[in-house]
Symmetry: C2
Subunit: 359 residues, 2 copies
């Protein structure tokens, strides 16, 4: 199989962890006989530095021309004082819209070998395996008007939470499709006791559920969901929700397993290339020091293999290699317990590659 992968390292540890993921993809290519070509482009702070634009036209073009996008992370103190359109994360928001990446998949899986790193009790998080499906191109993130204006002699600021039927339908469908190959349970999260958008969301979820008689649907209010994720995270299978609720709940959920440095994500459109990136940020404090945990980026590469290229066997091989490396006690600083040896980014990456090769 021949695939073109657009690589957007971004800023901070993005550069290092993306490099690890690329090496792992190359290894998979060699072992399984695929031809992965990598095309690099700029995004975020580094793109501001080079092109005066967090998402230059050349980057958009490169992404659209490829089969999938691998992203590191964006942002850092250097660009914190810039405003509005010149902020690094604007590059991220714009690429989502440009590629119509409406479905953000964030699996949260507990690694038994890491259950001591969580602030939750071991018995509460053992075996957590949930998938958050977040709408990524609508809602408060993009609704108009979004502005500041004067009214009755004082300043008013406004954002708009807006969803159309078709936007809701496609993300709910995605949730049901994923549930079909998992435990067949969808929890649709909204705030239907307050919001008009949530009431429409809930109605449509009910409608769509009739197309998936094999999947159980339940509704949960977002405040309750924020509680239940802590009370009983093992309860959940697929959670589907709108953009901002998904932002908050997926970050909350990522903390449950104590392994934020382990968590991947996939952002998908209906047809074009999807974007695969670790959930963690650019961690400027440890950037360039060979200290970052590359496993979230490697795990994102695994999601790319599975969802973008349909290479489930290859994806499984990567997941198993990650598991084995952890079981053998290889850990970067973020997941090492007191007294445990701390490995570098390169050491962990090499270990994953060796593990893959030795199969």
């Amino acid at each position: 199989m021949k695939k073109n992968i657009t690589v957007l390292p971004g800023d901070g540890i993005g550069l290092e962890v993306v490099q690890s993921a690329v090496e792992v993809l190359e290894t998979i290519g060699t072992i399984y006989g695929h031809d992965f070509a990598f095309d690099y482009a700029d995004i975020g702070g580094s793109a501001i530095d080079k092109h005066n634009d967090p998402l230059p036209a050349s980057t958009i073009k490169a992404c659209k021309a490829g089969d999938a996008v691998l992203l590191g992370a964006v942002g850092g103190p250097k660009w914190d004082q810039l405003s509005g359109d010149m902020r690094p994360e604007k590059g991220l928001l714009r690429i989502r819209k440009e590629l119509d990446l409406f479905a953000n998949l964030r699996p949260v899986i507990g690694f038994d070998s890491l259950s001591d790193s969580s602030t939750l009790r071991k018995e509460v998080i053992t075996g957590i395996d949930l998938m958050i499906v977040r709408e990524l191109t609508g809602g408060l993130y993009f609704g108009e008007p979004r502005e500041r204006r004067e009214e009755n002699g004082e300043t008013i600021a406004v954002d708009t939470l807006i969803y159309s039927r078709s936007e809701i339908e496609r993300i709910i469908r995605k949730g049901f499709e994923l549930a079909q190959v998992r435990s067949r349970r969808v929890t649709s999260v909204d705030k239907a006791n307050v919001l008009e958008t949530s009431r429409l969301w809930r109605e449509i979820a009910e409608e769509i559920s009739t197309e998936y008689p094999d999947v159980a649907l339940e509704h949960m209010l977002v405040d309750n969901a924020a509680m239940q994720l802590i009370r009983d995270p093992q309860y959940f299978d697929v959670i589907v929700t709108e953009n901002l609720f998904g932002d908050i709940l997926s970050d909350e959920a990522s903390m449950l397993t104590g392994s934020l440095g382990m968590l991947p994500s996939a952002s998908m459109s209906a047809e074009g290339p999807g974007l695969y990136e670790p959930v963690h940020g650019s961690a400027p404090d440890i950037a360039g020091q060979d200290k970052a945990n590359p496993l979230a980026a490697i795990s994102s590469a695994s999601m790319m293999l599975k969802y973008a290229f349909g290479l489930s066997e290859e994806a499984l091989a990567v997941d198993k290699a990650i598991d084995q490396v952890l079981n053998e006690g290889f850990r970067t600083g973020d997941i090492a317990r007191e007294g445990e040896a701390v490995k570098t980014t390169s050491e962990i990456t090499q270990k994953v590659i060796e593990t893959l090769r030795s199969k």
Copy 2:
């Protein structure tokens, strides 16, 4: 001191726990020589049944005429099928607006005696003592337009997130004032990397902070706050945030200590009567069975004594009584460990009253 308290029992266990709180207030009145008069009115589902309105004009009038409002809880399956303006929680939303209760205070305090009921590790929650200050009368809850309409041949739903400078100023000030008598640290939570309202919020927080040089201000993005509450809840002192973020984060935080049935809240206006209510809901499944935990309602009465009437000594006496009752092992079902004796609502209430009397 003579005070008139408007009591809104509401629905479900609201009736029972409000009764407990009234008895405790009467006891305090007797011991300390205050004259508390109680005036009952309807809200929520029971008001729908009696008046065809979740917040009848007579209730609004009663609340405005009194010195403070004590609320139980609203809602239940009986009214779940009603729509829009006839839903029980509409009564709650409307009373907030009618009384201009812009500041919702939700203290989250860990009880050592209950630390086993949490899903978080004991060492992570020991000594948690944070205060969430949630804006309660603005933002997405009340912004216009909030509607459904047809656009380009499909249905669109819209909600509006709107804040004025004065709305933001007064809630931020409340956060700083509370921090002054606590640990002098304010965490202002927003989503300034995406929302216009958050950018205004952040600017104003910076401005107001110059009026409180003795209090440290930091900004935190809402997604990060959802993580940090789990990672290190002991870190926080006062969290101040807008309505919907506050709804989500305070419910998340309430779950940390494993004692949702213990948590009180106060909703305050600039001048008029405030409203005091337990954080928990109406729990229809155990309503009328003398099983509900009355301590959140009793603790809300304590907040009333302190914030509405300035009776700090009396409030402290109630808090201490609650502590002692817990330390002596008195527990309702929600907080009892396996094998522990389960007490009724009335037994716990009587025990609190006896403890107060025996001082």
